[in-house]
Symmetry: C2
Subunit: 195 residues, 2 copies
Amino acid sequence: MKRIVTISREYGSGGRDIAKLTAEKLGYQFYDQAIISTVAEATGLNPEYIKNHGESARGSYFFNYGYMGMGFNSFSLPDFLWQKQRELILYLAQTGNCVIVGRCSDYILRERDDCLNVFIHGDLESRKKRAVEVYGDPVKNIEKHLRDKDKKRKTHYRYYTDQIWGNASNYHLTLDSSEFGIEGCADIITYLAGK
Amino acid sequence: MKRIVTISREYGSGGRDIAKLTAEKLGYQFYDQAIISTVAEATGLNPEYIKNHGESARGSYFFNYGYMGMGFNSFSLPDFLWQKQRELILYLAQTGNCVIVGRCSDYILRERDDCLNVFIHGDLESRKKRAVEVYGDPVKNIEKHLRDKDKKRKTHYRYYTDQIWGNASNYHLTLDSSEFGIEGCADIITYLAGK
């Protein structure tokens, strides 16, 4: 049996909903929004900043690196956020059974053997449809929007883990949600986590 | 229900055994060695050549490309083998329910919607152990041997499909055989193919 499930996901694949449903089916805690609010409370950072930068590529060069050339410490705000999120994820994993969405949690918890790491992806059409209909993203340039979102997650993951996001070898299981559906994916993960 | 299952795999992950077991469980034809012997019979190519080049990177520059500079046709022996294997896989997929091992069959059959594409991988230690104990590979330089094998498959896949081998998005499902075991993986695939 796996006490912890991490679910990484392409934008629009429904990975977050799959994670939520899996947590319900397993009777586990579900950590997504709670990570944002806890980190916000502990650090004083704006929740919106955490939401936008907690698992996306680092922001402008100037604010992240610019001051390095000015003789200040090289520890940037994204690095600070990464460290605080990392500490929280390590703590949450110790406290009880849970499903954690994204935030390089597969990598952060890689030393644990009670952790099932999952990646959810989907075909472009299904993801576009979901982004527009469920998340309310504008139809205009939706394909570019999806690619940008994924690119940012990929870059962020690469920067902090030195691994390739979406590469099968990083996960115990990857699933195409456009093939198996939201409920279907949650059922598979629940079954494998409970074994 | 899926009529066809394709199983791509890292060297030493037991993907071939998983494919064989899945075919038994589903009552499907199993195509691996049969592809080699059929292509050998149809083309006159040496089975050993097909085994070594049917899903591995192209051979020496001279034999593959060298004669292009001599004014001959640019169609090389690896390209010829690729085409013959491709024709056979397309034909086999039409004739009946089957499980096909490797050979870019996921890509070759990508237009079909009755096909479940699976990738099997495993952690390095499990794969080394399997390569030595099950395949009888020499212990010396086993890690390099594994990496070379995978690199050749990756290069071959990239050359003929323009896709990244082992990237989750290419497959409906990827599984870590060192986590779920040979029988466990076969059970999951059988369940999902039969749905």
